[in-house]
Amino acid sequence: MDIKAYIILSLVLFTIGIIGVLVRRNAIIIFMCVELMLNAVNLLLVAFSKMHALSIAAKASANFASDAQIFVFFIMVVAAAEVSVGLAIIVMMYRNVHTVDVNFLNRLKN
């Protein structure tokens, strides 16, 4: 399939993720959007890896263009770790201000 479709999809997902992070007020939704961004990047990496593999396949038999696919695993692991830490922080926040609205996080103001 045309690589452009994957790129555009990835781009759209990434943008939606960014806008979600900027616009939404609920901390958990923001986390979901961060995950969305990470997954968009994963998608892009896999797509490029396949594209690369397809162009080498004509020359050699072994498709060693799977670096990106390995990288995707790394990203997933990091995402998992980050989510656990982040949710822990949100729980602490809830315990202090009894809300998950990020607009209340303005103690850095003065």
Partner: protein, 627 residues
């Protein structure tokens, strides 16, 4: 002794010293000491001036160089004094009459507090210092320093009783009008420098330097100098300050506004006679302005009721006479009239001070009358002054005034007749003043009548001395027609070259005769009119116009002061408040506005920080992509 010239610098420095002592020590010195110090320094200067005069009379003139004042590549102006016939004569007048007035002041001002008394003498000494600089200067710059100095001292002394707003307004008016004239003087100096490159008298008045000036240059320079003289010597249009200047103490009026400062303009023109002789247009202008001023002021004086205002307008009128003399090329006659006028006008001002003193401060002649029997010395000396100013033969005013009239006649008979009319008005208003004040019955209050007394000798002695001078002072200039040899003209001839005007002896006799007869008729008319003076009601018609001084002050107020006020109001409200304040305040407002916007950078909102992060990333991305 020829080495008197080495001590010439002392002549102005002594009054300056007196100024410093009295000025700095005014809270510490007693009144006797300050009065003594103030008068003694002027007397010492007078003695030195006499010695200098004797040297000059023997034929030794000198230019004494002190130091280089301004030293540019092309312009060298030195600080030097020029001691010659003209300046030595003026030195005598300034220090001599000045000394008499200082002595008079010690008694006249004795009611003042100690520190105000010393302040008065300090200012008076500063004035003498500036006036001496003016006449002794060897170039126009030193003259200008003295010129400004006397204007300043005039301001300080007119506004001496500064707690009265009217007096300080009068002082301001005097100073501002003086300054307008000074602008003309300065422009003339700049023009002179740009054309010749020097302003030293010794270098400007040589034929070589004068040849460098075109007729346009000379006419322009002399006209601008005359503008300066107009301001200082109270001619049309800058004369209205002098009557208002009567707000100052009477000795001040005598010294500054009769004998010395107002003659600075005459001195300047007499000194520059070489320039003025080459500018006939300017001379005509001077004649016309002088004549108009003489007539205008004399006409106002006949209707004034304040003793000092009459004398003030008389001064303006007599200055007009002097300017007519200058305009007809008769420089010696002008200087002669300066000298005789100094004597009799100072005499009359001091006499009026004596009267005011006796009347307890009253200056309105409608409340006086019959003072002769209470103050004989003042009355007789004042009468001598009146006879002198009217031009009765034998008194000093006769010789000087007749010389002016003769010069005017040989120039143009119409000028002569108008000037003669002014002289008749002079006699009329002067004797009106004398008769109303000193003869008849007393019209004041009972308390004032009890207070009437002759003044102490410190005041009457100067009156007597000045009266003697008013009589004999004329004999320095007896014309050939009457058998003399006009010592003054001969004395001044190296410096002041008068236009020679030859009148037949018979014509001169006839002129003198006509003048004297008409003056006597004028005096008789005044006597008849005013001998049974009762206070008249409101004046009507021409009398009202004259009493209101031809509404000149009101004209100036309407034509000059009010437009100036509205222009400055415009500038203040629109340009100052809206534009300039707006700009300055606008900078402040800009800072507060932008700071309020930039505050959002640190709102503490995490969302805002993330947004900024994203924006930053995008910018970097675009820079990467396109650069």
């Amino acid at each position: 002794m020829n080495n008197i010239f080495k001590l010439v610098w002392l002549i102005p420095i002594l009054p300056l010293l007196g100024f410093l002592i009295n000025g700095l020590g005014r809270k510490m010195l007693s009144k006797t000491v300050s009065g003594f110090v103030g008068s003694a320094v002027v007397f010492a200067s007078f003695l030195l001036s006499v010695l200098v005069f004797l040297q000059v009379k023997a034929g030794n003139t000198n230019t004494i160089h002190f130091f280089d004042f301004i030293h540019l590549k092309s312009l060298n102006i030195a600080f030097d004094f020029k001691i010659d016939q003209l300046s030595s004569l003026f030195l005598l007048i300034i220090t001599g009459v000045g000394f008499l007035i200082h002595v008079y002041s010690t008694s006249y001002m004795h009611d003042e507090e100690g520190k105000d008394f010393a302040k008065y003498f300090a200012y008076l000494n500063l004035f003498v210092f500036s006036m001496l600089l003016l006449v002794m200067g060897g170039n126009y710059l030193i003259m200008f320093i003295g010129w400004e100095g006397v204007g300043l001292c005039s301001y300080l002394l007119i506004g001496y009783w500064f707690k009265n707003v009217d007096y300080t307004n009068a002082a301001k008016k005097a100073f501002i009008m003086n300054r307008i004239g000074d602008l003309g003087f300065l422009l003339a100096l700049f023009w002179l420098i740009s054309k010749i490159g020097t302003i030293e008298y010794n270098q400007v008045f040589t034929a070589a330097s004068l040849a460098k000036l075109s007729t346009f240059d000379i006419t322009g320079i002399t006209l601008l100098m005359f503008v300066g003289a107009t301001g200082k010597s109270a001619q049309i249009p800058l004369f209205t300050w002098l009557p208002d200047a009567m707000a100052g103490p009477t000795p001040v009026s005598a010294l500054i506004h009769a004998a010395t400062m107002v003659t600075a303009g005459i001195y300047m023109i007499a000194r520059s006679n070489a320039l003025f002789t080459l500018a006939p247009i300017t001379l005509n202008v001077i004649t016309i302005v002088g004549l108009a001023t003489a007539l205008l002021a004399a006409s106002i004086a006949i209707k004034q009721n304040d003793i000092k205002k009459v004398l003030a307008y008389s001064t303006v009128s007599q200055l007009g006479f002097m300017f007519v003399a200058l305009g007809t090329g008769n420089y010696v006659a002008a200087v002669f009239h300066v000298i005789t006028h100094a004597f009799f006008k100072a005499l009359m001002f001091l006499g009026s001070g004596s009267v005011i003193h006796a009347m307890g401060g009253e200056q309105d002649i409608r409340k006086m009358g019959g003072l002769h029997k209470h103050m004989k010395i003042t009355s007789i000396t004042f009468l001598i002054g009146c006879l002198a100013i009217a031009g009765i033969p034998g008194f000093s005013g006769f010789f000087s005034k007749d010389e002016i009239l003769a010069g005017a006649f040989s120039h143009n008979p119409i000028i002569f007749s108008l000037l003669l009319f002014a002289a008749l008005l002079t006699a009329f208003y002067m004797f009106r003043l004398y008769i109303i004040t000193f003869s008849g019955t007393f019209r004041g209050t009972h308390d004032q009548e009890h207070h009437l007394h002759e003044s102490p000798s410190a005041m009457t002695l100067p009156l007597i001395i000045l009266a003697i001078l008013s009589v004999v002072g004329g004999f320095i200039g007896v014309p050939e027609v009457l058998g003399g040899h006009h010592w003054l003209a001969a004395f001044l001839s190296p410096v002041v070259k008068s236009a020679t005007h030859h009148l037949e002896h018979s014509t001169e006799y006839m002129l003198m005769g006509i003048t004297t007869v008409l003056v006597l008729i004028s005096i008789t008319f005044a006597w008849v009119r005013f001998k049974n003076y009762k206070v008249a009601g409101e004046s009507t018609g021409l009398g009202k116009i004259l009493e209101n001084k031809w509404y000149v002050d009101e004209l100036y107020q309407m034509a000059i002061v009010n437009p100036l006020k509205s222009i400055s109001a415009f500038f203040n409200n629109i340009i100052e408040i809206k534009l300039i304040d707006g700009a300055v305040n606008g900078v402040g407002k800009l800072v507060t506005y932008s700071s309020r916007q930039l505050r959002w950078l640190q709102s503490g909102q995490v969302g805002a920080y993330v947004l900024l992060m994203v924006v930053g990333m995008l910018i970097l991305f675009f820079i990467q992509l396109f650069l």
